[in-house]
Subunit: 210 residues, 4 copies
């Protein structure tokens, strides 16, 4: 009713936030209910009380509203699809790589891909499929009818592949290039590179095909 949340909802929220951290850090299998509850300052039984099971908690921890908002905002940002791609990649990479971002869902999502749980179906239908469709439309606007649908799909994969690489390979990159830090500037530069690389490729490929 009021803006003061009940104790229950606070605990619930703390559990979800802690779960996002721990799932993002250790993966679903590696995460333990005990660690999640410890971070949330709650009892071991709290997860089962509020969410029924570890699986149930994962399902709740996944929230793609940030990703959806990003796409919605992008659609009305600029009439030029190239500019919109640049903008989207910048926002998307910030969400994916910024350690301070509250949107850890992308990381959980990424871990799911490597080790699917029953929650993957939800992730695919609610987050990944719309994301693919969104990028598919953007690519279509950019390349027009100069590419087959199959080619356009592979271009989407090429863009997403470049993005996810920086997330997946983070521990490796830290070892190979210890000076690398994912601060706002670096993330912006990475996003700009992916945008220019991809636009250049699509531009060249359509020209060549024409």
């Amino acid at each position: 009713m009021s803006d003061i949340q009940s104790g229950s909802e606070q605990t619930r929220a703390r559990l979800i936030e802690a779960a996002r951290e721990v799932f993002a850090q250790y993966g679903f299998q590696g995460a333990t209910v005990r660690e999640i509850c410890r971070r949330a300052g709650a009892n071991v039984a709290a997860v089962n009380y509020h969410f029924g099971s570890k699986d149930g908690l994962l399902a709740e921890a996944l929230n793609f509203s940030g990703l959806k908002t990003l796409q919605t905002n992008n659609l009305s940002a600029d009439p030029c699809p190239e500019k919109r791609l640049r903008l989207f990649l910048k926002d998307f990479m910030l969400m994916l790589l910024d350690e301070n971002s509250a949107s850890r869902q992308c990381r959980i999502m990424a871990r799911e891909l490597a080790d699917p749980t029953p929650a993957l179906d939800k992730i695919v239908s609610e987050a990944i499929a719309p994301l693919h469709e969104f990028l598919g439309r953007l690519v279509c606007e950019i390349v027009g009818d100069k590419m087959s649908a199959a080619q356009q799909l592979r271009c989407v994969f090429s863009i997403l592949g470049q993005c996810s690489f920086y997330y997946h390979t983070e521990p490796v990159l830290q070892r190979l290039h210890p000076e690398l830090r994912y601060d706002a500037d670096e993330i912006g530069a990475i996003a700009a590179h992916i945008a220019e690389f991809s636009l250049a490729a699509m531009n060249q490929l359509t020209r060549r095909d024409a």
Copy 2:
């Protein structure tokens, strides 16, 4: 050394082979020593006896000879760097995606990236660093001095990102595009796309920068 292996060494070899299968299938954390020993027809204690620990077995199970051979052969395949990139990508994607490939190490490697264990250091120094260097030299040959070192590095990342995407996202792609099969033809088409996309991008970027 001789062609008569002791029973002990046979068991050792079977354990390594079984470990590769199980690690590739379930990841390091999800794999159990019992399952590995069961597949190898060995005792539960065999892993600790032969390799000291589950970690030790992982270290032994990692073998990058296939990846190294691929790079070595590539260097002498053709004087043209663009052609060598196309060739490398085809071989690399076959190794990464072909289910019948004996080279499961790439899959273990890929899982490690998502869930680092102490073995990651070995993977990075023995496989990934050389791979990055190899691709770095190839990119350098292609773009010459028309790109900064930082830009060249990002191009390497863009290429590798496109490659690893098809591996990481396999379970998702199976859901989004159930008709997709990673047979030899499809893998070849994927590799060709990555090659053309990347070459087009690098070509365009160097031209534009010039």
Copy 3:
């Protein structure tokens, strides 16, 4: 007292009724407070609030008025002790076996015998001891002074043993004789058998001893 029960007392009554069902179905240990509260439409904490503990609820759920009424009515039913035994066994077996009987206490009682809880003392003093005494008097009337007190006691046990057998062994009998149904006719036949078997035995034993 008045016909307007407070909500609290209604909840209390619903809890007791639900407890009888659940205890009868799953036994004391197998029953859960949550299930009882769920059936009673009450809060999880209601049991401890109203009865202090699960044990306290059991104590309250036990109500032997049906059994007592049965004995009281029997005493004035007929001057002939043999007839009264036949009548009592019929009523008692109906109470024990009829699934539609509201008097589930006998079932709870029977489960207690197999798995005693602190409530057993109450059951023994309020229900079983009077029942044994009642049957003891009836047997005494039938065999008169032709049997020792010890023999009479064993006759009481023989009668009660035959009765309780049909309750305890129900799940087994269902497996051995799937066609068996405890309907009113069958229960009547069972009670008649126990009566005739026991009366014949006592008759013969007193005659032989004489």
Copy 4:
């Protein structure tokens, strides 16, 4: 090989023996793996190692050889069925009530009847059904063709009911008759009573029917 059992088999045997004690004392649900392992001087994980699960242990703990031997021996003990019934009841009650008896299975069996687990099917088919058949044949020999099959079956139930009563009601009888002790003499007297009571009943019933 030798008459010296391996350590494994000793532990296994100790676990089974401890399980019989604990299952008999607390029932399957009330028994804990920890308590069983504690009594057996084994680790908590030993039960799952040797028997796969608590259920598996129960299945192993049930061993009806004693009961079978008793029946087999009885068949050749005497040509007179009345004498054989007396003998059987004495042996059976000793097995059922003697606290020092190694044959605790009967107690586990009895608890199962009150709270069936998946093991009940095994108990019924391997122990109870043969027992019922054995007693059925004995009763048939005694009453000949002077009783219907249905009547004979109820006589078997009357005999078994009297026997099991002393087991089921033990905690109650201890409260009502604290002086009662199930020593060999008392058990013999109980068995004799059940035999005479039942034989007298069957004798009288057949005579009456004739």
